[in-house]
């Protein structure tokens, strides 16, 4: 049985090691090889490389250093939790310009992953809204960088998985919102073609879109799902009160036995979700916590995958590959006997500035796959399909991709490694993931 002690990502594959945390991030990062925030990356991105058993935990360094309510620019220490930022600034009429699917991430982690969200087709990744960063680089110096100052270091750090320097402070422009509520419309879609068509059509009309997809259904129902469209509500239509973050009243008390989530139970769950949307079209006024973070309602939902844990395969399939690119991924998953408990599809806008930033124009499909003895083979085969479509995978979700596959997917890798080498010639900054994917070249 896999060990449950030490450090793990959200996917709960544990390695020996521990976090060292301090309010004084400048002091605690001295000589350290990696920082991590709340550990929400799924695989080994926030885990120590071989030969090291510790990483810096940034969560105690979470002070807001300044905020200008004219420009919306906030400067904060890297460990500031997005949940805190939302809670404090939503009542003031501001929200993070880009949010991932959980609010339990740190600002530093968001930058290191260059996270994207439901508004990627209009707002890009978080990196587009980052104005400057303060880093501790490998030789110990503290460096301020931005688009104007140490530009290549700045761009390599957006989505650079923490390998260019320890992120100490982040300056970010928040979005001014008309009200703290979201006007949501949802559409039940009977198959993949309908989903892909609706995603494309709605991207012109809606600033926020995302699709939940039943990837277990087959035949004519393959790829059926629900499309969630949203926009910030105007003051005239929104409730007067400011919504509060939902409390995590429900939690998984312990890891379920591995295998409880299998193709049969996952299929039942997916069918229930699909059928629960009994009307083809629904309209609702929802709070942003419900809209952006539905899974945060359940504390430690990752325990549902049992002691073996979960991996997420998130890939973007370029537009040129057409609908068959996504269809191929779903069919391959079924052919390999695997299944995804939760599958999320999103159309991506233009590529960001970050040298290893994930999104590019195309369709992104995220598949939550319970880990078993076949998972490495599943990931390998999914990656071969992604490669054949000219796509790439998201490092923040990955724990199993092979180095040669990642290199083949990522023509920007050499450029990233060149910048990294310039700032870290002795390869002091490393993670289990960088060692796995870049080897001695990281």
């Amino acid at each position: 049985m896999p060990k449950q002690t030490g450090l793990s990502g959200w996917g709960r594959t544990f390695v020996p090691g521990h976090e060292t945390r301090s309010e004084d991030l400048v002091a605690v990062t001295r000589g350290a090889s990696l920082s991590r925030g709340l550990g929400r990356s799924y695989g080994d991105a926030s885990l120590p490389a071989e030969g090291s058993d510790q990483v810096v935990g940034t969560t105690l360094a979470d002070r807001i250093l300044s905020f200008d309510d004219t420009s919306g620019v906030i400067r904060a220490e890297a460990g500031l939790c997005l949940s805190d930022m939302n809670r404090l600034f939503l009542p003031r009429g501001f929200f993070t310009p880009v949010t991932p699917g959980t609010r339990f991430v740190t600002l530093g982690g968001m930058v290191a992953s260059d996270v994207h969200g439901k508004n990627h087709h209009v707002a890009g990744t978080i990196g587009r809204h980052v104005q400057s960063l303060k880093l501790r680089v490998a030789d110990g110096r503290i460096i301020d960088c931005s688009r104007e100052e140490e530009r290549e270091l700045f761009l390599a750090t957006l989505g650079g998985m923490g390998l260019t320097g320890h992120i100490l402070e982040v300056e970010l422009k928040l979005e001014r919102i008309p009200s703290p509520w979201i006007h949501q419309e949802t559409f039940r879609l009977e198959n993949l073609d309908a989903m892909l068509r609706a995603l494309k059509d709605s991207s012109d009309k809606w600033p926020m879109t995302v699709g939940w997809m039943d990837t277990v259904a087959t035949g004519k129902q393959l790829g059926r799902g629900i499309l969630y469209c949203g926009r910030w509500a105007e003051p005239s239509e929104a409730p007067q009160r400011v919504p509060k973050p939902q409390e995590q009243k429900i939690g998984m008390p312990f890891a379920l036995p591995s295998g409880v989530l299998n193709r049969f139970t996952i299929g039942m769950f997916n069918r229930l979700i699909y059928l629960s949307h009994h009307k083809p079209h629904k309209t609702a006024m929802v709070d942003p916590y419900t809209y952006f973070y539905p899974l945060d309602f359940v504390r430690q939902w990752n325990l549902a995958y049992g002691k073996r844990g979960v991996t997420q395969h998130q890939a973007v399939i370029p537009n040129e590959a057409g609908p068959d690119g996504i269809r191929g991924l779903i069919e391959l998953l079924a052919k390999l006997g695997a299944s995804s408990f939760l599958s999320v599809i999103k159309d991506c806008g233009p590529e960001g500035e970050g040298l290893l930033s994930f999104p590019r124009p195309g369709m992104s499909l995220a598949l939550d796959i319970p880990i078993n003895e076949n998972t490495q083979n599943v990931i390998d085969q999914l990656n071969q399909h992604v490669l054949s479509c000219g796509g790439r995978i998201y490092l923040t979700k990955d724990g199993l991709t092979r180095a040669e596959d990642f290199r083949a997917m990522e023509p920007r890798l050499d450029q990233f490694l060149a910048v990294k080498h310039k700032w870290d010639p002795d390869d002091r900054l490393r993670s289990a993931q960088s060692e796995r994917l870049f080897g001695g070249h990281a």
Binding site: E23, L60, D69
Partner: protein
Amino acid sequence: MKAAVLGASKGVGRAIARALAEQGAQIHLLGRDLEDLTRSAADLEQRSGGKIKVLATACDLEKPEGFHAALDEADRALAGLDTVVITAGLFGVQTALENDLEFTRRMLTVNFANTVVFCEHARQKLMSHGGGTLCVVSSVAGERGRKPVVLYGASKAGLSAYLEGLDHKWHAEGLRVVNVKPGFVKTSMTEGLTPPPFAGEPEQVARDVVRAIERGSPVVYTPRIWALVMFVIRLLPRFIMRKLNF
């Protein structure tokens, strides 16, 4: 509320200051590192929604000669303070303290003698305004002499005894003494130690402390389960404590 907070840059003190700021309390920070305090002051201002202005004054718990002036400064800046919160202190595990008696002397001086002297200055300042609240973070470690916390626990036992006496002596004249007795709290102070059962988070402790300040509770165990745990531990006969390797 107009509160001076000593030790608000880290751990439980930071969480208490944030909880007070989010309630709109006027706050003046006291601590060793003025630059660090200034960053914390900015944080508190933003957490209040930009509604309060937070100032800071250097005050080192190892330098009692500065206590009076620091409290005067806080009092002036707040135009008359009504609450003083003390969360600063030193911590060391038993073996580290046994192996470094100079550190032990410092810890005992800071946690007991200097904290008591600071409290006396604070008490005088509060009474000059007709009363107020003096909230001091002690520890459950001071409840019984126990093997893992012989020295640290002694410093907190002395402090708790002083706070109880202070409460008796001045309560009728308007001083509200709040003795906070946290169990193990996951902060940078306890970083590297294995959290025992019922370990608390600083935010949880802060909520309990702010509620105790509002109610004027003389003693608050936090997380609250520690009230029950310590009730049992206080009743344990010595021979059972020996058997349990306490």
